[in-house]
């Protein structure tokens, strides 16, 4: 499963991504709002890069509470493609960028060599089952209702500090360390090896267990 990072992919996910820009920019100044003008919407200059809709999946119920995925939506208003170069967070030892791919009939998670990219003038929405920012080596449990702050640095040098709420999300595909609803085929040992078998190595492949069924 490749990431949603091109215009073609945007169309594939239908209204979900298509209407994204409305909430952030267009509609604020174009429609009636609370019955009066929307000063903050109409005076906000177009930023080259915006990061919105950030959220982190809780470690509650997670089979491997040492890691948690961060999902964001990145809008690139520049004329050049962008990628996330690096990230850091006070709650994690390190921040990595992962993709989900099919290998030998299994959905596996692996560090994304090309990084998470956003085409020029495009929007990339990270969501479960696709590219994600992985907070690795968590120093604390991430409870639902808490907030996590992550600093991201883009390839053009832009830095964005993102405050993301921690949310519950039961992932039927169990792409990460699994949840209470994970299929029986996903064993503790596979997730255990996932977190200890060199996640920091950019070339290693983490097998998540044979849970490709929806």
């Amino acid at each position: 499963m490749s990431p949603i990072s091109t215009t073609g992919r945007l169309l594939l996910v239908g209204g979900l991504v298509g209407t994204l820009s409305l909430g952030l920019t267009a509609c604020g100044s174009a429609s009636s709002g609370g019955g009066t003008k929307s000063p903050s919407a109409s005076t906000t200059a177009v930023e080259p890069v915006t990061v919105t809709q950030a959220w982190v999946r809780t470690t509650e119920g997670s089979m491997d509470p040492t890691m948690a995925p961060l999902f964001i939506t990145i809008k690139n208003s520049t004329a050049n493609p962008l990628s996330i170069k690096s990230g850091s967070s006070t709650v994690a030892a390190r921040v990595e960028f992962h993709e989900m791919v099919m290998k030998d009939g299994k959905m596996v998670m692996q560090p994304k060599a090309s990084g998470i990219t956003v085409p020029a003038g495009g929007t990339t929405m990270l969501k479960p089952g696709g590219d994600h920012v992985m907070l690795m080596g968590l120093k604390q449990a991430l409870a639902v209702g808490s907030e996590v702050t992550v600093e991201l640095t883009f390839s053009d040098g832009t830095k964005k500090t993102v405050t993301a709420p921690v949310k519950k999300f039961a992932d039927g595909n169990a792409q990460y360390a699994g949840t209470g609803t994970a299929s029986p085929s996903m064993s503790m040992s596979s997730s255990g090896s996932m977190s200890s078998s060199g996640m920091s190595s950019p070339t290693s492949t983490m097998t998540m267990g044979g849970t490709t069924t929806p």
């Binding site: 215009t7 169309l11 239908g14 209204g15 979900l16 991504v17 298509g18 209407t19 994204l20 820009s21 409305l22 909430g23 952030l24 920019t25 267009a26 509609c27 604020g28 100044s29 174009a30 429609s31 009636s32 709002g33 609370g34 019955g35 009066t36 003008k37 929307s38 000063p39 903050s40 919407a41 906000t44 919105t52 809709q53 950030a54 959220w55 999946r57 999902f71 003038g121 929007t123 409870a143 639902v144 209702g145 808490s146 907030e147 405050t163 709420p165 949310k167 519950k168 999300f169 039961a170």
Partner: protein
């Protein structure tokens, strides 16, 4: 039922404009995924669903914006330990949900995102109950006018419909949207608050009735004639908070009351008596003896029998600003129908919602006057009552309640 269908149609039109603008911004000339709004306001298929209302502005949407077909109001109780900081996290979370959902985009972590693509004029309005101002760090921020409504003689208040530390009012033209959006808000609130009560109400469905008409309640009355239009110069001072406290400026105060109607006995009242109870005609909503709904109430006029044509105990007289030192509120009351009680009695009536700058100075004196002598009291009983301070609006880079909680 204030904001009129004419205003609703305007919102549909502006929603269409917004959708077009967004398509242009996203660089998509052919936009299968943004259902285009109507070229006119004739109500063609899809126009109702694709209509969007911006959540941004000086005021929260859902107060002065037109009332669509349905409303769901959910009140919450803060969990023990939920403090000022936690409330801030919840407001940031909810604000992101409001930004996304009102524009037809899923809330983050929403596993059923197909349910949100047709926002149907969705608005989400958030308010704080009195208990918020008992939290550490917020005790000196309480609005003086945020008072619990004193018990009225005719009230039969039940805990299950009363009070609340937080409120979320969700309005839209589609029940599926209302239900799913309310659920997202409830799920995201779960770490911070539990649901205390939930009440739904309805107006006429979109496309029913004539543009600009005032709604009707289940007694058959034209209901809401007295509301000021948003364009009225007085509207702002009636609805929006100004002055103190500073954080509430541009906000409002919300009253929610569940008012059960004794429909079985009301039905037995002859029509002329029904009209005398209100002081208005049932067919047109016009004041008795007059022709048009908007004609001023002839409060001093007397009939051939020497009696006032609008009886002294008529609801319209007692609720009229001229009888209340000019006091007004903005009514956004909806109908509710919870089916029949075990004994076959209808549990139906008015999900009374009003917005006003100050509950103590506006709502309470009007209600006390009605409680004293309104002849309508014989057929109406308040079963629930709740009050909330509604923070001002927000923008793309801020969040609801930031002025109080940041």
């Amino acid at each position: 039922m204030s904001p009129t269908r004419r205003q609703a149609l305007t919102a549909v039109a502006s929603g269409a404009v917004a959708a077009g603008a967004a398509a242009a911004l996203a660089g998509c000339s052919s936009s299968d995924w943004v259902r285009p709004g109507p070229a006119d306001s004739s109500g063609k298929a899809g126009a109702v669903g694709s209509a969007r209302v911006s959540p941004f502005g000086v005021h929260q949407a859902g107060i002065a914006t037109p009332a669509p077909a349905r409303v769901m109001v959910t009140a919450f109780t803060l969990r023990p330990g939920a403090d000022k900081a936690a409330l801030g996290r919840l407001m940031r979370l909810w604000s992101e949900d409001v930004k996304a959902l009102t524009q037809g985009t899923p809330a983050t972590g929403d596993p059923a995102w197909e349910l949100v693509g047709q926002p149907s004029s969705l608005t989400i309005t958030v308010g704080f109950g009195p208990a918020v101002f008992a939290l550490e760090g917020l005790r000196d921020k309480a609005p003086a006018g945020l008072v619990t409504i004193p018990p009225m003689v005719h009230d039969k208040l039940q805990d299950r419909w009363s009070g609340g530390d937080l409120v979320v009012q969700v309005c839209a033209d589609d029940s599926l949207v209302i239900s799913h959006v309310t659920r997202r808000m409830v799920v995201d609130a779960a770490p911070f608050a539990t649901v205390r009560w939930q009440q739904s109400g309805f107006w006429r469905a979109s496309g029913v009735g004539t543009p600009g008409e005032t709604g009707r309640n289940l007694m058959g009355q034209v209901d809401g004639t007295g509301n000021l239009p948003v364009s009225d110069p007085q509207f702002a001072s009636v609805v929006w908070s100004s002055g103190s406290p500073e954080w509430l400026q541009g906000g409002s105060m919300m009253v929610v009351r569940r008012i059960q109607m004794a429909l079985d006995t009301w039905d037995l009242l002859p029509r002329d008596k029904q009209e005398a109870v209100i002081g208005r005609r049932l067919d047109t909503g016009a004041p008795l003896t007059l022709a048009k709904e908007r004609d001023p109430l002839p409060l001093d006029a007397r009939g051939a029998d020497g009696k006032p044509v609008i009886p002294d105990d008529a609801h319209a007289r007692l609720a009229n600003p001229n009888s209340n030192g000019g006091l007004r509120i903005l009514r956004r009351a909806a109908n509710y129908d919870a089916g029949l009680a075990a004994d076959g009695t209808p549990d139906a009536g008015l999900l009374f919602i009003s917005f006003q700058a100050d509950i103590a100075k506006q709502f309470v004196p009007i209600q006390q006057r009605l409680d004293g002598s309104d002849s309508l009291n014989k057929w109406t009983t308040a079963l629930g009552s709740a009050v909330f301070a509604v923070p001002p609006g927000f923008g793309p880079d801020t969040w609801i309640g930031k002025g109080l909680l940041a």
